[in-house]
């Protein structure tokens, strides 16, 4: 199994869920820009499940050396890489912030996934799971840089799914909605609309097994986003969302 964004609580919960369900991997490749936190997780799954893993450095804000990935081989890729950035007005006009959001969520990430997609394609098997966001379903004033990058990522995953269908590789797009994770710690989220990483992992694992195409972690988000997508633009632009 390949994990991009290994410090993500959703990614870690998914790995645990899969191992709990009895899935075994020759090796789990933990890609991360934060070695310290990932090492803790690597030890954890070794103690808990006797699962071997390997930590591989991946910093999407820097030049990527693909040679480091040569030996990485698996039939499951879980991509939880993401960066919320600063959605405030200052954040919007801060180019560094904007670039970082776009790099990590889309432009630097896509080539990395493509690299592995190619390996999957040549083996004619495998599943790619990508965490996108409900923020990508429609741009809203509160976080539309992040949202636009996620919208692009959603479109990418959808196209990739289409492209890889005949090559027997499946692509699953996950839109988590509000999540109680470190990304959103301290933000005022409605608890009824917020899922924890464990819930998310369970839902994603089910969707993975059923080979679903797109899944919202909490079904209510499917309904909410359908409404939000269908609000006419002349009304939507006046809303404070």
């Amino acid at each position: 199994m390949i994990v991009l964004g290994s410090t993500s609580e959703i990614a870690q919960a998914f790995v645990e869920k899969a191992l709990q369900e009895g899935e075994r991997f020759e090796r789990i490749y933990l890609f991360t820009s934060n070695k310290e936190t990932t090492e803790r997780f690597a030890r954890h799954i070794d103690v808990k499940f006797l699962q071997q893993s390997e930590i591989i450095e991946l910093d999407l804000t820097k030049e990527i050396n693909y040679q480091n990935f040569d030996s990485v081989n698996s039939s499951l890729l879980f991509c939880a890489t993401g960066y919320l950035g600063d959605g405030t007005e200052e954040g919007l006009y801060d180019n560094k912030n904007t670039e970082k959001i776009i790099d990590i969520n889309y432009s630097k990430l896509v080539p990395v996934i493509n690299y592995f997609a190619q390996k999957f394609e040549s083996r004619r098997s495998g599943t790619i799971i990508g965490l996108s966001s409900v923020a990508g379903d429609r741009g809203r004033q509160s976080n539309f840089i992040y949202g636009s990058a996620k919208a692009a990522f959603t479109a990418y995953l959808s196209g990739l799914r289409n492209y890889l269908f005949e090559k027997k590789v499946h692509v699953l797009t996950v839109k988590p909605g509000f999540m109680a994770t470190k990304m959103t710690e301290g933000l005022p989220l409605n608890p009824k609309l917020t899922a924890n990483p464990k819930q998310a992992a369970e839902c994603i694992y089910k969707a993975f097994k059923k080979q679903k195409n797109v899944t919202y972690v909490l079904p209510i988000w499917g309904v909410i986003m359908m409404i939000i997508r269908n609000i006419p633009e002349f009304i939507f632009k006046k809303l404070k969302l």
Binding site: F41, V47, G87, E185, P188
Partner: protein, 438 residues
């Protein structure tokens, strides 16, 4: 959206509720930053203590310190971060033939909490407190330094932190020993006792058993006072089990566990329903004595079976009152306590009696000492403070004290027994309350 870390925080009894800053971090660097940039910090695990012990002005939640570090499967020594729950330890240790040496009545407490409270179980008389099996732990001190404490290194911090209610620093990780088991089952005997005399006799007769505990119907008066059921148990050996269980003796079937969906309205729990519950519970066992085998979850954690069971006490919450009274006068003290409760009509849904063995004198902040301990649940209402005061009075008269992990309103003379924990950095609401009420 700017982050706001202030939130409503409360422990298992839903009393008291405070609105304070709570943060959780998983890197030592960030925890250090939090400790250095705040006054009055207190660590909190899974919030399963009852009173105000893990509440403070600035709460550090160990929730993200939830990783295992190592497991020596030959010697049964496990190391994990402090936010790991006992349930998570059991999940990996039981199938390997290991069990916790000491466990309280719930498995949903954190390792950090187990050390800070130095929890005890049904085997205190035979195997002591949790700390007996802790070999070392890492502690973040006032200046953000991380020190390793054990019986050889930083011994003063080691012993003051054990049972020290988080007032010495933040426990980051710990290493502790596990006990060998052959099966996940307990050989159990339940014996009905008609009154206090009988239950005390049964306790003394059962001293050779590893686990003993008694459930008391605390609304009985006169001759029936102390009517109870004693439960004693031993880890079962494989050859003792029925064929079905003996096939895979360390694996339990997954059980359905219901969840209490909302806070029960206040009228649900009243003197009458508590009386009825206690009556039925006692009558449920028709024979004087039952011998059987039960899985470890049923034996150790009967209440964990229902998720969020604290909600049956309604929104006003409940307290748990646990005291210990020295052995010599234990029986008389218990009698007075039970009489007072029965007369107040403020019955306890769950009253648990235990005989503590000798205490470890090194662990000077631990609650247990040799004597009888009783734990009671009381719903919070306007008459409760008065009852607590009456009970405190008796406990004081008999030279007993109160378990800090469950305290939220007892008098300071019964709760002010911690030593070497004075720090201006690590302060809980409980500790402040105790010092202010002196």
């Amino acid at each position: 959206m700017k982050p706001n870390f202030t939130q409503k925080v409360t422990n298992w009894g839903n009393f008291p509720i405070v609105e304070k800053e709570m943060r959780s971090e998983d890197s030592f660097k960030k925890i250090k930053e939090f400790v250095l940039s705040h006054n009055e910090v207190i660590a909190r695990g899974n919030g399963r203590c009852y009173g105000d012990a893990s509440l403070g002005e600035n709460i550090f939640s160990s929730k993200k310190l939830n990783k295992f570090i190592s497991f020596d499967r030959i010697n049964g020594i496990i190391e994990c971060e402090s936010g790991v729950l006992l349930s998570e330890v059991l999940e990996i240790s039981v199938p390997q033939g290991y069990f916790l040496y000491v466990t309280p009545g719930t498995k949903f407490i954190s390792i950090g909490g187990a050390i800070a409270s130095d929890v005890h179980g049904k085997n205190h008389h035979s195997e002591g407190c949790f700390s007996e099996y802790v070999t070392e732990f890492k502690l973040m001190t006032e200046n953000g330094d991380v020190i390793t404490c054990s019986r050889e290194h930083n011994t003063d911090k080691f012993w003051s932190t054990i049972g020290g209610m988080g007032l010495t620093g933040i426990i980051l990780s710990a290493k502790f020993k596990l006990k060998n088991i052959e099966t996940a089952y307990i050989r159990q005997e339940s014996i009905k006792a008609d009154n206090l005399d009988e239950i005390f006799r049964l306790f003394e007769e059962s001293e050779s058993w590893t686990y003993t505990v008694a459930w008391i119907d605390c609304l009985q008066k006169g001759q029936n006072i102390g009517r109870s059921i004693l439960m004693r148990g031993e880890h079962a050996f494989r050859h003792e089990l029925a064929e079905n269980e003996a096939k895979s003796p360390l694996v339990l079937k997954k059980k359905f566990s219901p969840t209490v969906p909302f806070y029960f309205p206040n009228f649900v729990l009243n003197a009458l329903t508590v009386k009825l519950f206690n009556f039925l519970y006692y009558k449920k066992q028709s024979k004087k004595e039952i011998k059987n085998f039960v899985d470890y979850e049923t034996f150790f954690y009967p209440l964990d079976f229902v998720n969020d069971w604290n909600k049956i006490y309604g929104k006003s919450g409940f307290i748990q009152y646990q005291m210990v009274i020295p052995k010599e006068t234990g029986k008389e003290g218990m009698k007075r306590i039970l009489e007072t409760i029965a007369n107040s009509g403020n019955g306890s849904f769950l009253a648990v009696l235990k005989l503590f063995g000798e205490n470890n004198t090194d662990a000077y902040n631990s609650f247990p000492f040799e004597g009888y301990t009783l734990a009671l649940d009381f719903k919070v209402n306007s008459k409760l403070k008065q009852l607590v005061d009456q009970l405190d009075h008796i406990v004081q008269e008999f030279g007993g004290r109160i378990y800090l992990t469950k305290d939220s309103m007892s008098r300071s003379s019964l709760t002010d027994y911690l030593k070497n924990v004075n720090s201006s950095k690590f302060v809980s609401l409980q500790h402040k309350r105790i010092l202010n009420n002196k």
